[in-house]
Symmetry: C2
Subunit: 368 residues, 2 copies
């Protein structure tokens, strides 16, 4: 039977509580589907930083690279200056482990409240592939004549063709694979289907302003499209994308975009599908070590109260299993989460679920 080595970073605030439930579900899925997970815990995060002055040890990358995947709780501490942990831990791990894809499934589970009027689970079910290594996130730039009236600040938005290509390749392949019997066409017209298209990939950019950078994305996208004849391609400016995500989320199947635009639209997308309580994400290096996380924060005020919603962390564990190749286990966890949101929880909000954090974990295990 297969054994997977998992680095677990519970992190700050309610991170350890949601991670405990994710691990509980992982173990139960392993028993049921015949695999084991060997966990090693790392205490990196805000509390560790405050105690030691260290964000990550110098060999963090090497330590994590020995594992098959990383499961992250939440990094964030009210006493740490904004930016320190984001740059020192979250972004640093993405860069050091070259996790060049940020994968964000956007799915409205049954029973989950959306702030959108008249939208049902079948209307909100798409995936955003966010480029996770480039753009303004490289941090190139600077300030001149700082704090004088003549100050100039500059930041470079930069992409290489290979950065763009590897991201687009992932997105096209995902779009191709996404068309299954249970998950048929999305966003395609009858004409498209007759023409042989089975899925749709929408590039989000701002070609009319970011001529150089989005121009590169567009050329690379159109060139690669030729290799994926069943994937219908579409393009949407980022400003318009936010409108359609709110008005017509059913138009989207797979969306691919650069780093900052992806950051913005995935948060919006998470909100439309029920908010931080239930959204999971993966920072992927398809040939290396990937990291999975609930995308909400550390929610310090709920710490230790056993009231936080662990479903996003459990969903992150399911994404991890899917990525490791345990497709059946991943699917079973996802179905169990859907059952629990649709039939058990009163609300997705902390303290309003009608169940405690640990009880929600138990419910997912029971319904696996």
């Amino acid at each position: 039977s297969k054994n997977y080595k998992i680095a677990v970073l519970p992190g700050d605030g309610t991170g350890p509580e949601v991670i405990a439930e994710a691990v509980k579900v992982l173990d139960a899925a392993g028993r049921k589907f015949g695999f084991t997970t060997e966990k090693e815990y790392y205490n990196w995060g805000g509390a560790h930083y405050l105690a030691t002055g260290e964000t990550l040890p110098a060999d963090a990358k090497e330590q994590l690279a020995r594992h098959d995947a990383v499961l992250l709780g939440a990094i964030g501490h009210p006493d740490v200056k904004p930016g320190v942990l984001e740059k020192g831990i979250l972004l640093k791990l993405r860069f050091d482990l070259d996790q060049y894809i940020n994968l964000r499934p956007v799915k409205l589970f049954p029973g989950v409240e959306t702030p959108l009027a008249n939208k049902k689970p079948e209307d909100i079910d798409y995936v955003v592939v966010r480029e996770n290594s480039g753009g303004v996130y490289t941090g190139m730039g600077g300030n001149v004549q700082i704090d004088t009236p003549e100050e100039v600040a500059c930041q470079n938005w930069i992409y290489t063709r290979s950065q763009v290509d590897r991201c687009l390749k992932f997105a096209f392949e995902l779009a191709e694979k996404r068309h299954t019997k249970e998950n048929p066409w999305r966003g395609l017209s009858e004409e498209d289907k007759k023409a042989g298209y089975t899925s749709q990939l929408t590039l989000v950019g701002k070609t009319n302003v970011l001529t150089y950078v989005c121009g590169l994305w567009e050329r690379a996208f159109n060139a690669m499209a030729k290799n994926y004849p069943t994937v219908k391609t579409a393009y949407c400016h980022v400003d318009a994308a936010t409108m359609w995500m709110v008005k017509n989320p059913e138009w989207f199947d797979v969306v691919v975009t650069e780093n900052l635009m992806g950051d913005i639209i995935t948060d919006l997308a998470a909100m439309t599908s029920g908010g931080m309580g239930v959204a999971s994400g993966g920072n992927l290096n398809p040939k290396g070590v990937s990291m999975f996380e609930p995308i909400g924060g550390s929610a310090p005020k709920y710490t230790g109260k056993n009231v936080i919603n662990p479903l996003a962390a459990i969903g992150a564990a399911a994404m991890m299993l899917d990525f490791l190749g345990e497709k059946d286990a991943a699917k079973a966890i996802e179905k169990s989460i859907e059952y629990v949101t649709g039939n058990k929880l009163k609300s997705m909000a902390a303290g309003k679920m009608g169940y405690s954090t640990t009880e929600v974990g138990d419910l997912v295990v029971e319904n696996l």
Copy 2:
């Protein structure tokens, strides 16, 4: 009696139809409130470009600078390559006339459908001040080794302190003024009110990633805040801002942000308040010539059918009058629009209003 010289650019598609209604309302308001408008028409736009190869004449700036304000219909033509008219007309006018503020009122009128669940007109009523002259819109950057596997694309996101300061000053002053008897506190807690705050200004940025550029914005914002003791300041990352605009729009009063982030969040905001049919915007140069426009496009497929919604163009005319100092006329038009959306129109969508374009213009005039 006052006379205002207005440059009218009806533009493409349905632009001329909505502008005709805006002009009808302008004239009626002039008769009622005792001012005249002297209009000069310019035919710049996609059709003119296709016929002549010219986006704007070399002296466009000088021609427009002779007027007190510009009223724009819509620029955009299906036969023109994307980017040409945006860069050659819209952005060029903003830059040439140094319209450094893009002002976008976000207001849900009674009777207008919002895609957000459970939000009422009183919940969606804020203003976004978008910086309109800098950032990635300057167009600095380039591509090296274009169309080879080694291609690198770079775009500069650049701000000067004075660009930031003049925008922030406008936003703080607007926030200060926005607190009136009819329009009391928004987004303030009881504690805030006791502390003497009357309005709120939220800076939207991404300080944890755009360290240099958003760092400058943040320092300038905090420094200027000291001069506006009644304005409570807040900060929000752009990714989070999109979430709250959908989940809790009632938290916002005045929002200020840089150019690209502003482009994104104002389109989202327009959608939450009923979409392009009713949203107006102003490109302002407080010491020069400002340009007002409905923010929807040229909607070519509805051209000449007398079915397009003219309310956004009429709203743009109201914003123009407000900016020119005709506050009472502006208010009267806004109230009339509210009456018409709340009591007359069946829908805001083209062809579904229950009235023709010209009839909607007449309704606004009748209810002035």
